[in-house]
Symmetry: C2
Subunit: 499 residues, 2 copies
């Protein structure tokens, strides 16, 4: 049976290599690729994806998995090998359900839809995107039909991004969160507002870049297996445990994008770099889910990066680099980087309002999958919900329903992971602070080794071995729970806004 | 039959995509890859290479080719489809001859040999490299044994780099060239020597880079499908017709490496960018052989780049960028960049002495394949030939037999292509100047469109359709001939050195 397991591992190693190659091609596509190579790159990625799909759903893999299941049942259920068989079998069974025709059609439709979305957003004209989004939604509903056993149609697509997560759970979590978060935002809006004008002024680009590098080096980013490049939409790309690259963008007139974007991507990268070497080239390295990934990026960006201890440590250095901040006291800086202001654009939202952007999208996605709302009605629905949750109405669709790229690429079911990541980050943070009581002092001293060590041991090392709910239960003793996040937000903003 | 051809083309497109992916991974490996990813990258490239080999030698491909051969025989023999079947069949038959065991062993031996070579060169100690080179040579002789029909053992390996080229032809070419070139070098050495000291002084790195970019933009390098990055050992990497990247290096105290290195790599890139779109993703795009490739790079570097008309055009601009050249007249500059000086290192050699470095290596390689020389005797043999051909003896093996990386990577049979490329470049140049009589005037005016157009139509567009001898015959009316190169060298150096 060891031999069968070895055979399976050899196939998985091959798939990991191909996925790693595709990751580098994807990174290159968004950083250095000459523009004329776009079609060629599409072909290359298409071929790699098809080979991965064909090899991953081959009868040989199915047979090995069937033979290995009884063997795995006799192992420690948390062991690498037992999990390898379990996770691979789930991947295999899901992939088998989806006909090749659907995959091809999905690729074709989304390729065209992305072009249409770019044009629609530029012109702020939803009608350009409408017929394409209708096709995307139709295909997503067809995808759902391949999984007739699900409790709710949205479960089928959610599971691709958050393995094991149910729509009912997400709804329950967000239903509990929504009124509290709306109430908090309202309370904040009634208090004197924070000034962050000093963050909007010229900051030398090279100095910004270097400061970001300085910070994430302290965080523990391993440059031996990483690098940072510029990208208009920053992202992290891992091609394997020893090659996890980040990107950032630098706004010459606003400090936040570089500062918090760099920390955010570093958080993702630390996760990818921390998986146990035993999981290399098994397909089980990397992250448990998008939400768990986001819990790491948001933790370093917000719970660490926007905390007072962080800037008690680093603000003097920041002032040294940017003398224009010399007359801004720490307290004012801290409040400025935590300013709450309902706005139209999700990616620019602050911690207090961010989740509202997500809930709006999630509700729309669920309604689309349920067939309860027509695509053509989305702009009006979007604006109504923006008004209800955030008290603002987008002036046009470019700043409304057309702002995100996700749906044009077929990524329906993705958004909730951003909010779930926020919730998990606070839930983990409470646990970490129980177990490392002097963590604020460590951060104040610019020491992050113990924090990173804790994350490595409890989250990173496990890779994809556990589903998100399992993992969070294992680590915190309970399933995903919005209470820690509300406690965190309430405490933080009560201090800042004097609620 | 159209359908069978289509099936073959689909497989070839898949192989082209995988090779293109490997090309980007290779480019990344030498430019931006974090050092910790070396082993991971080895796995990724190994997997891609294995899949390409398996798919390329599958019985399906063999069957399609057998079925298509009679069909192709009825087509115009120079048509894309006839050539596709012919070239693919040759690739297939060669690949089938080599057992998988040999490929694996070769990869293992050369991976270790490269590490040993690095150490041996650093320490200038041939004994460290000796046992590894012995294994490499043994494996190359084993490879030769898979092709028992060849006239000469060296033919089998030469054909991998120069399809259709015979050892007897190469020997005849070089036997005719050697005495004339030795004589020329001797004649030059007896004349007053040229001063190139002004090329060895500080030159701002950024300005060097920008000047190189300016030149190759004039040459016609298409930045939409290309880019330039820094690399310690400059190279050109093509991943397909629409993505051909170059690299360069900048020496802050010597102008030549950037100047002529950039033009050289641009020459390679123009070839890859110029293949006919109909050959995209067929495996027939790219270059006919290494020598034909080198004919293009050397033409832009030397026949254009080191010519007097070139600098009649660009020298004023160069002086503007580098005012330290203001008091160096054009004539002195032109002589300086064409200085002849026998030296130890091939990659630093001038046009007059370069081929001697190659002949020495070729003779050694042929003797190794014939079994007429032992690996342990190479250092002494090397030094004796250096003295005979160039009148200098390397002070140590690092500057002698250990200077090139090629043999450690198993590339025995490769060197002759450098010299053949030089010969072809001059042969083509004579033809071009017959057909574009005012070419020197065009170069003097910084106009390269007609030259590039000629190369595109006569060389680039054909990709790998023709073997090098076929191609050169087609274009110039004769096979590879050293006479034009000797005419070129003799005329040029007679003027410079007053022979």
């Amino acid at each position: 049976m060891k031999e069968k397991l070895q055979q399976l591992k050899e196939i998985l190693a091959e798939l990991a290599d191909l996925n790693g190659a595709a990751a580098i091609l994807g990174w290159d596509q968004q950083t250095y690729m000459p523009p004329g190579a776009a079609e060629l790159r599409g072909n290359q990625l298409g071929t790699l994806g098809r080979i991965v799909h064909d090899k991953g759903t081959s009868p040989e893999v199915g047979k090995l998995l069937e033979e290995l299941k009884p063997y795995a049942a006799g192992l420690d259920p948390d062991s690498d090998d037992a999990r390898l068989v379990k996770v691979t079998a789930k991947d295999y069974e899901k992939a088998l359900r989806v006909p090749a025709d659907h995959i091809v059609k999905f690729a074709e439709v989304t390729a065209v839809a992305q072009g249409a979305w770019v044009e629609a957003r530029q012109k702020s004209d939803f009608s350009i995107f409408l017929p394409h989004l209708e096709k995307v939604v139709e295909l997503r509903r067809e995808y759902v039909s391949f999984f007739p056993e699900v409790d709710h149609p949205y479960d089928a697509i959610l599971d691709d991004f958050e393995p094991g997560m149910k729509t009912a759970d997400v709804k329950a979590i967000f239903d509990g969160l929504r009124p509290k978060q709306v109430e908090l935002i309202k309370a904040i809006s009634q208090k004197p507002q924070v000034d962050d004008g000093f963050l909007h002024q010229p900051f030398d680009e090279k100095k910004q870049w270097d400061f970001g590098v300085e910070i994430i080096t302290k965080f523990g980013y391993d440059w031996k297996s990483g690098r940072q490049d510029k990208a208009p939409h920053p992202f992290t790309q891992g091609a394997g445990r020893t090659d996890v690259r980040i990107t950032t963008r630098v706004d010459p007139n606003f400090l936040n994008p570089m500062l918090f974007g760099t920390m955010h991507e570093c958080g993702h990268a630390l996760y990818g770099l921390g998986s146990a070497p035993a999981l290399d080239r098994t397909g089980l390295d990397g992250g448990a889910s998008l939400a768990v990934h986001e819990s790491q990026s948001r933790m370093w960006e917000n719970l660490v990066g926007r905390s007072l201890p962080m800037w008690e440590c680093f603000y003097p250095r920041l002032q040294e680099v940017f003398p224009q901040l010399k007359n801004i006291p720490l307290d004012k800086f801290y409040k400025g980087i935590n300013k709450v202001q309902p706005s139209f654009i999700r990616v620019e939202a602050d911690e207090a309002t961010y989740n509202m952007h997500i809930m709006l999208r999630l509700e729309i996605e669920i309604a689309l999958m349920e067939g309860k709302v027509a695509v053509k009605d989305l702009p009006a629905l979007w604006n109504a919900k923006m008004q209800e949750y955030l008290g603002v109405t987008p002036p046009n669709d470019a700043k409304g329903v057309l702002q995100d790229i996700h749906w044009s690429g077929g990524m329906v079911g993705y958004f909730s992971t951003y909010a779930l990541g926020n919730l998990m980050s606070a839930q983990l943070w409470e646990k970490i602070n129980q177990q490392i009581p002097n963590l604020p002092d460590q951060v104040r001293a610019g020491k992050f080794e113990e924090l990173l060590g804790w994350l490595r041991a409890n989250i990173h090392a496990h890779g994809r071995k556990f589903e998100p709910q399992e993992l969070i239960q294992k680590v915190t003793g309970s399933r995903i729970d919005p209470a820690p996040y509300m406690r965190y937000l309430t405490k933080k903003y009560s201090e800042i806004y004097g609620l």
